[in-house]
Symmetry: C2
Subunit: 208 residues, 2 copies
DNA sequence: GGGCTCTCTAAGCAACCGCTCACCTTCGGG
DNA sequence: CCCGAAGGTGAGCGGTTGCTTAGAGAGCCC
């Protein structure tokens, strides 16, 4: 966000806030491993060796394997939420804001799909406290989208019989991008974002 | 399918084809455990004790823990595909067929969400051969939905600029129901099915 | 009733897991 | 030049995992 160069799906320095350098390398390695094999199937030895270190080095920077997942989940969710809220709080009609929100949220889930996969699908591996924190962040996601849709209905731009259900469906659609998106596939994150923004406007009955 | 009584989300005897009785009990226990904790976090001792047996009893009916997942994945995918194709091959306009396909596919993913969760999210835990088999079944899902949408476009009932992308989005939307659906939540599988059928008809620009 | 099959169990093996500990290296400050 | 803090390693501990083995009961045909 604060760096000059950005790629289609996210930042050039995604984990710039994590220091020192070794801690960041371990965290990046953990994201890759968790996304590939899942949290429980990933060993601490695998994470350490991906980061070019011995198994014991992990415990200098993190107390447990679960702390790694907590850090990844929190930072990832905060980034996604920031992306969504930036679009939601921008100037413009509800139609424009909803389109931009979906476009950037989808772009993030496609471009950062390794992080997104960990963040979205490894929630149950967290302990109760950490999970509660993440669930609270998700509720803010939900509220952000619902408010835009409510604004659009109030302004007469949208035709939505079931606001809560439609909100759920819109978010579900965006989040599931992280599951199927393939870097070697035919679509770029930008293209998926544009397609999905169009589809969501149709779902809420917005005139184009 | 062959039994008389059916619930909203699926059959009354979901695993009737699995014999003998002990093998079915183990399989049902495995579905519950995999859905709750995930494949890798589930131990063979946990599965056996849920079925009221000793850990060794599992290996009389299944060669490995992975064979259990294979069986579950294959049966689950075949059932979901059957539900989808039954709706797709019914009489009626593309609009009616798409609505019914989404309605029943979503109903299945909501009603059988424990099976669906295992089937959809534990694919990577399978070995290469078993995974290839499942991927082939998924492609048939994809083709089924795409054909209905193509029919609708050809008949002038739908307005879809990107058929492949829209097909992907429709299926993604339906499948993700398995992730968020909660039995204690406010919606029944029937209600979610009806809501989603309406949303999908909007996505393809069908006149109602 | 003796043998045969099928089903299940108690006990345990080898491998691997998350994590710890004693020790080594590097490096800036006095 | 010594020192202490910070970051790293090799070896390994206790516990758990998937799976195996030897053998016990229950039914069933002859």
């Amino acid at each position: 966000m604060s760096t000059a160069e950005e790629t289609a799906g996210g930042e050039a320095q995604p984990w710039g806030e994590v220091t020192p350098d070794a801690a960041r390398r371990l965290l990046v390695a953990a994201v890759e491993a968790f996304a590939e094999r899942g949290y429980h199937a990933t060993t601490t030895r695998d994470i350490a060796s991906r980061a070019g270190m011995s198994p014991a080095a992990l415990y200098i920077h993190y107390k447990t394997k679960e702390e790694l997942l907590q850090r990844i989940s929190r930072i990832g969710h905060e980034k996604a939420l920031k992306v969504l809220r930036t679009a939601a709080e921008a100037e413009g009609s509800p139609t424009e804001r909803l389109a931009e929100a979906v476009r950037s949220f989808v772009r993030w889930h496609a471009g950062q799909h390794t992080v997104a996969r960990v963040v979205q699908y490894e929630l149950d591996a967290l302990g109760p406290d950490a999970r509660a924190e993440i669930v609270a962040l998700r509720r803010r996601n939900d509220a952000t989208v619902r408010e835009i849709i409510e604004d659009g209905v109030a302004a007469g731009e949208f035709d939505v019989p079931d606001v809560k259900g439609t909100t759920l469906a819109v978010l579900s659609l965006c989040i599931d991008v992280a599951r199927w998106f393939n870097v070697n596939g035919p679509r770029t994150p930008d293209e998926v974002g544009a397609l999905y923004a169009d589809l969501v406007l149709r779902m809420v009955g917005a005139q184009k």
